[in-house]
């Protein structure tokens, strides 16, 4: 027997020398040899030899099924196993004298993971909620990117689409970075660089870049889905290879080198696909060959299909191996996805809106009935009782309707806390980050969209706001530990989110210098008030950071922040003192659906001001205003000259006679104030905001309509747009 064993070991050693990692057929041959040796050993150390064979077999299985972090290390282990077997079985040496391969059940010996996968392995301890958020967000961004790419296919010059695409990768990069998904971060960063070149106009958006971007989206999506399924586990080797190859393609595109055509791969398998189906779908096997093989498989009594196909030499073994991996990957991803999904019911937003519309109408109809004179005239006590009950239910329904979309801002704040910690660590600053009021509830759409701007703002605070090191803080007479505070609180019908730091404050001079460079101002800007100067940082491409870093700069940021916040019908204020710090305050409507409105009458028509935009309302007679160049009017109020506009000019039709014009609604738009003359004040009310439909989307000065308590529609004014359109027309005295 031992002689046989010797031969077998010798043959094994030869086979090992010839085997390539990627040659699955050779690997399975090795597997068979190890198994045979393990089953047939005798002699003094047969136990040890059998266990060594077992370890080697396990290692081969891991390589074949791509379950290893580092195939090279596995191959080393297999090699060491052969040396051991030679020692034990051929030379009769004791196990103690030999480098016995250790059991890699913890993958301790088997894997020498590179830094990246190490990082990600640590993530097993990472907050699962964060990962889930990241995955959801990234997939959304990727889906978006796909849509934008399709738009670019038809119009490669679409600036908005290019910017959107860039932002998608930019955001994924940022979030992946602070969660610690290094591989994803680097990859997204590379793609972002490529798109940045397109954005700057250095490269033209051509079919090649679109192709590369499409492929990058796909690769990234698979990688993110893997992260979703497996949390921090290292991705299988072919996924890493795929990612690396893709990264090279992206770099090649950025540098204008010719595109390495991607190696044809089998398409990713759907969960539940059978091996044969995967191979046919990938075009690796013609369907008729598959049928032959299936028949042959039946004859051969349950020999695996892959083996049959290879034997019938329809297909190289590598393809079968890839298909098997693909099948397994799909299965794994599916299984764990099922496990991770929380039980919620997804409802189409449109259905929810229709429900809310219906509730709104019910409330109006109910109010009309409840207040109808006929009903009161009846004076029936039982009817009155039923009406009260109906009223209660209606109000309850209304409350529920509005709360349907409300979620706490906590998850967003948690993300920010983590981000701030990471940023502080990266920049070596000592920062204490605290959150207040994370239970504050906001409309879900608002919470979903506020993440991006907040990321930029937290970065801004930690990166630029806080002094670069403790020495600088000491010199300024501040405690070494810097403070960054994130707060949310509700005030009336709106929510305020504040980001406060006790750093350097905004640098007025630097901003003005930059504004001059960019041609935003012609002179020294000495006459500009602080808020006007601060407002410059929201200009596109206005970054005062001296260099592009991994976390900020590039001028992506504050302009996006402002746009996002305006889309949410909010506004952003800056309060900054040199040397003391900066407070950014974001004011947001509680929900996108309801605003607190002040209803006024002008020429017999009702208009609604968002209460947020009103500073105060003062009685004002026309004779109190002063003419200005005979074209405009102003009024002196608390030492300030405020331009006055007559809202009657804005309103079509209605009463032609001049109204009372007895009240001025003083509004604030940016840092400027203005007064708008109205006839009377009808009161304050929460109104449900309705869009005016696609066809009336871009009305200057109107942000939407509201259905008032009598069922008719009132126009909701958008103060910024209103002032712009009123300034265009001179006010008639």
């Amino acid at each position: 027997m031992s002689g046989d064993c010797r031969d077998m070991v010798a043959a094994l050693a030869e086979a090992l020398v010839l085997a390539e990692i990627s040659d699955l057929q050779a690997l399975s041959g090795l597997h068979v040899r190890f198994k045979a040796i393990g089953d047939n050993t005798d002699g003094e150390y047969f136990r040890e030899a059998a266990s060594v064979c077992g370890l080697a077999q396990a290692a081969i299985e891991r390589v074949i099924m791509a379950e290893t972090k580092d195939a090279g290390a596995e191959m080393d282990l297999i090699g060491r196993s052969v040396v051991c077997l030679q020692g034990l079985l051929c030379e009769g040496r004791a196990p103690g004298e030999l480098p016995m391969p250790a059991d890699p059940s913890g993958n301790a010996t088997a894997a020498k993971p590179d830094a990246d996968s190490m990082q990600e392995a640590d993530l097993l301890e990472a907050d699962a909620g964060l990962t889930a958020d990241f995955v959801r967000e990234s997939l959304e961004h990727l889906e978006n990117a796909d849509v934008l790419l399709m738009a670019l296919e038809s119009d490669p010059s679409d600036k908005e689409a290019i910017n959107g695409l860039f932002r998608a990768f930019h955001t994924i990069k940022g979030v992946a970075g602070f969660i610690g998904f290094k591989t994803i971060q680097t990859f997204a960063h590379g793609t972002e660089n490529l798109l940045d070149l397109v954005r700057m106009g250095t490269l033209a958006m051509d079919t090649r870049i679109i192709d590369v971007a499409f492929a990058a989206v796909d690769v990234l999506r698979r990688r993110v889905q893997w992260a979703a399924a497996r949390g921090g586990q290292a991705a299988p080797r072919e996924m890493e290879v795929e990612l690396r190859a893709m990264r090279d393609r992206v770099e090649a595109a950025a540098e204008g080198r010719p595109d390495s055509a991607p190696t044809p791969a089998l398409p990713p398998a759907e969960p539940g696909m059978r091996l044969g189906e995967i191979l046919v779908a990938g075009g690796a096997v013609p369907p008729e060959a598959l049928e032959d093989a299936l028949r042959a498989q039946e004859d051969a009594r349950l020999r695996p299909l892959g083996e049959t196909l290879v034997r019938e030499s329809h297909i190289p073994a590598q393809e079968v191996g890839l298909a098997l991996r693909s099948q397994k990957l799909a299965r794994d991803t599916q299984v764990s996805q099922v496990a991770a999904v929380k039980e919620t019911v997804k409802v189409e937003a449109e259905r929810l809106d229709r429900l809310l519309d219906a509730i709104g109408e019910l409330v109006i109809a109910e109010t009309m009935i409840f207040q109808s004179r006929e009903l009161k005239d009846m004076g029936s006590p039982s009817l009155a009782k039923q009406m009260v009950a109906l009223d209660k239910i209606t109000r309850e329904l209304q409350k529920m309707g509005t709360s349907l979309r409300m979620v706490p801002i906590r998850p967003v704040f948690q993300k920010m806390a983590k981000l701030a910690r990471d940023l502080a660590k990266k920049s070596g600053k000592n920062v204490e980050f605290t959150c207040f009021g994370d239970e504050t509830e906001l409309d879900k759409t608002v919470v979903d969209k506020i993440g991006d701007p907040l990321v930029h703002m937290v970065r801004n605070s930690v990166d630029h706001g806080i002094e670069p090191d403790a020495a600088a803080r000491k010199a300024a007479g501040k405690p070494e530990q810097a403070k960054v505070i994130l707060r949310a609180f509700q005030k009336g019908g709106s929510v305020c989110i504040q980001i406060q730091d006790d750093g350097r404050g905004l640098n007025r001079e630097a901003i003005l210098r930059k504004a001059r460079e960019r041609g935003l101002i012609a002179d020294e800007g000495a006459t500009l008030s602080d808020p006007e100067v601060w407002a410059f940082i929201f200009e596109a491409g206005f970054s005062t950071a001296a260099q592009v870093t991994e976390v900020s700069g590039r001028g992506v940021g504050m302009d996006v922040v402002r746009r996002n916040i305006e889309e949410l019908r909010g506004r952003i204020d800056i309060d900054s003192r040199a040397g003391e710090g900066t407070i950014f305050s974001i004011w947001l409507p509680l929900t996108m659906a309801i605003i607190d409105g002040m209803i006024v009458k002008v020429r017999g028509q009702r208009l609604i001001f968002p209460t947020l935009s009103i500073l105060r309302i003062v009685p004002l007679r026309p004779e109190e205003t002063r003419a200005f160049l005979e074209r405009g009017e102003m009024v002196l109020m608390q030492g300030e000259l405020i331009p006055i506009f007559n809202l009657a000019e804005y309103v079509p039709g209605g009463h032609t006679g001049a109204g009372e014009r007895a009240l001025a609604v003083i509004v604030e738009c940016g840092a400027r104030k203005a007064g708008l003359l109205v006839d009377e004040l009808l009161g304050q009310q929460q109104v449900v905001v309705k869009g005016l439909g696609e066809s009336l989307k871009h009305l200057p000065g109107i942000s939407g309509g509201a259905i008032l308590s009598d069922g008719t529609v009132g126009m909701i004014l958008d103060v910024d747009g209103l002032l712009q359109s009123l300034k265009a027309a001179p006010a008639a005295a």
Binding site: L520, L692, G693, S695, H698, P700, I707, Q724, S725
Partner: protein, 175 residues
Amino acid sequence: MSDKNNGGTAAASIAKAGKYLTFQMGKEVYGIEILKVQEIIGMMPVTRVPKTPDFVRGVINLRGKVIPVIELRRKFGMETREDTDRTCIVVVQVTGAVGTVTMGLLVDEVSEVLNVGQEQIEAPPSFGAGVDTDFILGMGKVGQKVLMLLDADKVLSSEELVLAAQTKNAEGKGA
């Protein structure tokens, strides 16, 4: 912007046979494909909207949805008249550049639904350059009646509801 199909010749796309809702404006009878009509409602208070062309009467609350109402008389350049108790709003769904849009058409009076066969339809007559007949898909002759069959999508190409002389408020906002 100009549609190649409308060279003013009979080569323009012609109305399809089918059921048409007919309504009157003064003495003229118009037809609109019944498939486009969602409902017909009586007159209700209409809120005027600033910065819209004069043919936009305003907006109404249609069961919680705000929809614009077009005064067809003004749209077609006819003389206006007071609303009567027969004035009503035909709610239609038209397909524009931005997808499907629901709108109301303010008409003098709704008459009936007529079946118009292909043989009863002919191309709209040409009145020279002065008269815009772009939105007339064809003329239907049913018995003694002559209907003007409207291309609702064209009449209400939704882009033109906002006055062109506006300051673009979306992107054009300064700092």
